[in-house]
Symmetry: C2
Subunit: 203 residues, 2 copies
């Protein structure tokens, strides 16, 4: 194994791209004026109207005092460095968000979980794209036999390292990863900031 | 005023775009294999290595029991609907993130604030772009004369409505906006989920 790296970067014309489309929108603003906006879109969105799911895994065991969570580390060409993220993935065509969450959790981490809850659809970066995702909360019973010896089921071109941390240490863990040069995913980072600030903000 | 709407959507070639660039990367994976990745990038990034800031505004007053927060509502062509977001904006060239946060807060809401804290840089949508942002926490003293009669300073093509809610109601407020058809920004939505789940997750 070696450090991944970017070898070259070339402009790509829209008509030649496979995964990302570039579009120009003309819209009417609230005063009725015609204006233009540029956006990038995934070319892979299925019928679910949802691009991706992120998995907030809640690892519980009789032996652990506090709930733990799984983080994924991987090289991301877009930022030319390692990132720290929730387990996550694109929703396949005809797949529900919940089914996608359990499938991706199993593929990326080896753990089997049960759906706890999911909430609103969220849009990342609405100034630039229409890309969206949901955070799905999944409980993983570490005392269940099926979770005793988890094995990742990665594709040949996937290289994901998982780390497990107590949720109460999530925010400080992310600060440490930033010092080590990792890029922090914004869903994960914002969620951790909400947890961290809750004591001072909620009265 | 009328409801904004999309009139047309046309494919855009990379060489003709002004704001978003499309690129093809060749990279070496951890096994040394050469692979390709497509990304979209802002063409506007300055020297700060940071595209944007989001502002977590903490509105405090002697008369209020709980801290309030400002949310921005605006039509987003990328998703063809209204969004609910933190006040936010691009960081100008040669501008610090903190200066950008105070400037954007004043422009979008009329309120003057003081920097409380900021944390890690976060990457939105690392599978698709290199776009990044920071959440900056800003305190606004509602009892200060300068904040008695806030006036937005929007550009001619900006239409932003602000709403002020107690932070303890943030999560339920977002759920209501989704029911009304708004798109929820993922930084805001993830932060609110962290706040909401803190009681059950942190022991």
């Amino acid at each position: 194994m070696q450090d991944p790296r970017i070898n070259s970067k070339e402009p790509l014309e829209n008509k030649e791209s496979r995964w990302i489309g570039l579009y120009k929108l003309e819209y009417s603003d609230p005063k009725g004026n015609k204006r233009f906006w540029e956006i990038a879109e995934r070319k892979t969105r299925g019928s679910s109207e949802l691009d991706a799911v992120g998995i907030v895994s809640l690892l519980k065991s009789k032996n652990n005092e506090s709930t733990q969570i799984i983080l994924c580390l991987q090289f991301r060409p877009s930022i030319n460095k390692m990132s720290v993220e929730f387990p996550a993935g694109l929703v396949d065509r005809e797949e529900t968000p919940e089914k996608a969450a359990l499938r991706e959790l199993e593929e990326e981490t080896g753990y089997h979980g049960k759906i706890v809850s999911s909430y609103y659809t969220m849009y990342s970066n609405v100034g630039m794209t229409n890309t969206n995702n949901k955070l799905i909360f999944v409980e993983v019973d570490l005392d269940d036999e099926i979770n005793k010896n988890p094995q990742q089921k990665l594709e040949e071109d996937e290289f994901i390292t998982i780390v497990i941390v107590p949720i109460k240490n999530l925010f400080s863990t992310l600060q440490e990863y930033e010092k080590k040069g990792y890029g922090i995913d914004s869903n994960l980072g914002s969620f951790a900031l909400g947890l961290h600030m809750s004591a001072s903000l909620l009265q």
